[in-house]
Symmetry: C3
């Protein structure tokens, strides 16, 4: 029996959404741990194996996201606004997509990821995913409002720190890298990593609008 | 009597949307054929004429899209969810915008489009638009579900192939083009073309969510 | 008593939205005047002070936008469609974000802003914000439909002029700037400024869809 079938038979309709969102956010944490391993691995071939694992996680995540949209199409009654489910699923999926894109481009561009800016960003992304997972998990009962709002505040702070690290990294890049082609490549890696923290904030904003309406 | 007036008088309200969406997707196919001509024309001036024709199509498309949004504002009852009509119109309009943007930038940057990556992308874009038109046309009766789902599967495969061609083209560009300014120009052309295949997939995702709800 | 509390006690629910949107669009005009000062200031340090003022405006704007979303979560009845309020708030917030981003990057990249393309763009952005403010202010009574539609037409024309200035600036940049790293920096400034005019058009499109439904 596939996971999807299991969910449909044994869980009340509302629970399906909570479960799927938790599956997604748990995977985001796993992906972010793997991304940290990628940017700490100096060897190209060993990195390639880790990147493949990020890709596998991303495919599983795609399946969960697809199930959320399928359930949204099937269910008339949903635990929170349909548009909020849509936005939350989209922003979580974006987090996974950009983490994978970042990992992939590091080897693709043959960029050395053992760079202080890239490594700090990977650490921030991991913190962001951990806080997103915490907030998503608390949605199910909405009893610990303090837990959710603490996570949302943390995500906002992480996004601001991401902006600062991005700015510092770009400034150093333009000042120290003489090869414009290398500038283009590294700048794209920094940009993608910064977008991951933006997408964590998008997810936080949807969760905030959900708890304002239902809490 | 203008087309818009004709549609309003002679067609039941629901039909207006089907007709307008079909007009748009038919134009996308025509634009994609013209885009293939653009990237196979080595002469700058002759290319300029073809690009002007792409621009004319794009303006007509803007009018149709505008009519869809006007009808959406006027009609309380719509053949499928208002938000789906909104998303579908937006994603089809994006396909047209990016095709025109691509054609325009080729001459603007004086990039030689007779490049294996650009030409393969143009062929893929044409296939994508053809499949989008097929899926949109079948929405009207929803009798041939197999036809629609085949088109959606094809669009997803085209988007994946677009990613691969993009990756290969960028890798070759960084490896072989010594002038960083040329790298910037060609990379932007590849990126825009890849976005067209993404937008075809966006349209496919909306169509999928429509048929899940109404089929 | 904070502004938010004042609004909630003394204004009927509908009015809150009009007032908040007017606060936002008025700030956009102020920000655009400050942005013009930034691009006309040749001195780095004096420019830094002006950029700080743009940043302060942007933070106030964030607060207003946050209040709009909070009110949207709290109020069941709204003066126009919930999704239109959502889109309008988002597009106005984007205008502020990109204006601040533009101002910030000028000093960050140490780009000389006394450049004909940048200065023309700043003037256009100011005109765009002025027209957006005019249209937003007229939403409250919807008596002067001509005033609103004139503003919307003007915004569309401004967005087209923005495209032209962008194209001319990029063409000159690639033709005259030998340093590819400088090309990357200035191109990003032009792009951000062009996005501001796009976001003005997004706001105009939402306002158009509002007046079609309610006028």
């Amino acid at each position: 029996m596939g996971l999807n079938t299991f969910l449909k038979i044994f869980l009340p309709k509302d629970r399906v959404f909570y479960q799927l969102f938790e599956n997604v956010s748990e995977l985001l944490v796993k992906m972010s741990i793997k991304l940290k391993e990628v940017v700490n691995e100096p060897d190209y071939e060993k990195r390639a194996k880790l990147i493949k694992e990020v890709e596998d996680f991303e495919h599983i995540n795609d399946d969960y996201t697809h199930q959320i949209f399928t359930e949204l199409g099937r269910n008339f009654i949903t635990p929170f606004d349909r548009e909020d489910i849509h936005y939350l699923a989209t922003s979580l999926d974006d987090i996974a997509d950009y983490m994978y894109s970042c990992a992939k481009k590091i080897n693709f561009y043959r960029v050395d990821p053992t760079d202080i800016g890239i490594q700090k960003m990977a650490e921030l992304i991991h913190q962001g995913c951990t806080q997103v997972h915490k907030a998503v998990t608390e949605l199910r009962n909405m009893k610990n409002m303090r837990q959710i709002t603490d996570a949302l505040v943390a995500i906002n702070s992480i996004e601001n720190q991401g902006d600062d690290i991005f700015d510092m990294s770009i400034e150093r890049l333009f000042a120290t890298e003489p090869d414009a082609k290398e500038v283009i490549k590294k700048r794209e890696i920094y940009q993608i990593m910064e977008v991951v923290t933006d997408k964590c904030e998008d997810a936080a904003n949807v969760i905030e609008s959900i708890i304002i309406k239902y809490a």
